[in-house]
Amino acid sequence: MTRKILALLVACMLLPVWPVLADKPRDGMSYVFSFYGDTGNNLVIAPSVLLSKKLTDTYYLGANLGVDAITSATKKAPTAPAPPTSGEEDEEDGGAFTYRVPLSLYLTYDKDNDTVTGGGYYSYETTYIGRSLFAAYTRRMNLNNTSLGIAYSQSFDYWIPDRTLPTDNRSERTLDLSVTQLLSPRQTVQFTYTALRSEGFLAQPTDQLVEYTPPLYAQYPDNRKGSAYAVRFITLLNEPTSLHILYRYYRDDWHIQSDTVNIELYRDISTSVVLGARYRYYEQSAAFFAKPLDAYTRSDTLIAVNYRMYAFHSNTVGMMAIIKPSKSFLSRFDADKVKLKLSADVFNTSSHPNIQYQYKTDHLTGIFTTIALDYDF
């Protein structure tokens, strides 16, 4: 395992300069290394390179290329008659990396008070192909006090499964509407509404109840409509300290409702270092077809195995840092153009019998970290 991680680290150091879908046009590049690991023996190592290059006064070309090494994504379904002792994967599968290669390209037009972005996304992994088109428009007005945004994305994904599925397709549509308003020289607020539509095979092909022969596989409804409403508020508490508060309410026609609260505090420690801390709480209800695992029968047409379809809550705590290297440290570069952004977060779910069933632990504890080096041209 260590050797694989080292090999991947070396590989990503060799990646040429590539790209990101930024919030606003940027003339620069970022090198990002992300890591996720949890007590369910899931591991994600995701290096990526992001590039946004100013072509003319108004046009920017952007790209984002990464390689995700994953031990838990689209796992190979066990072939009968060798059911493992749980619904997830056996130890051997859990230690084997699968790779996902996501690439996005986009073009941004930015002039005066208008920004328009359009692009495409493609990802490849052994058992799943992701393809999307997306577009976004942002209008700034009232002397940049108000900003209206609309974004739309449409995916045309499909599975390459190890077993026959009702359909191999999965498509998702997302519409985002947002309003951002400055309230004072020290406060700003943003409201966002998201409409989500999903169709196709929406469960994990490998999720299954192995007590049955042949196994009962997870099967969700073939379409889903969801809505999310979020408000974000930022205030400068005093000159070196800012407070970020997010609340999001989500609901869908599978009867899942959730509440998310995220609080972040940032403080300038010096002219070159910003430190931050965060706390996030998440709580959701169960889908209408979620039942105790031992209550399912062969006559059930909808089966949930993954704990995500059940009621649970989670907590996340984290630390962040934004570092501008000193000019003496980067004597050969323009230090004002370089930023190092670091974060480490730990999240913890509540206990759930389905987590025990799939991951052999009563709750999941995970850590995710991101190291990003930004350079502006």
């Binding site: 992701g130 985002d176 940032y266």
Partner: protein
Amino acid sequence: MKRYVIGLSLLSLLCLAGCAEKLIRVQPYEMEHFAQDKMQFTPLGPRTVFETHIYSIREASAGGLSGFQGGCGCR
């Protein structure tokens, strides 16, 4: 859901048409704080992208963050 969309659209139209002056709360020379990293909605953009992806795998909710996430077979 439609009424929320209509409400948001009406609010947007109001911003576009009528109450512009009342919404100018900050003059250009007062915006220095908003240029700071700690006053951005996503001070650490790459972390936001990655954690949104992680949460989309670990939770059943999505949206509300006005950011694009490509499809993957993790969910």
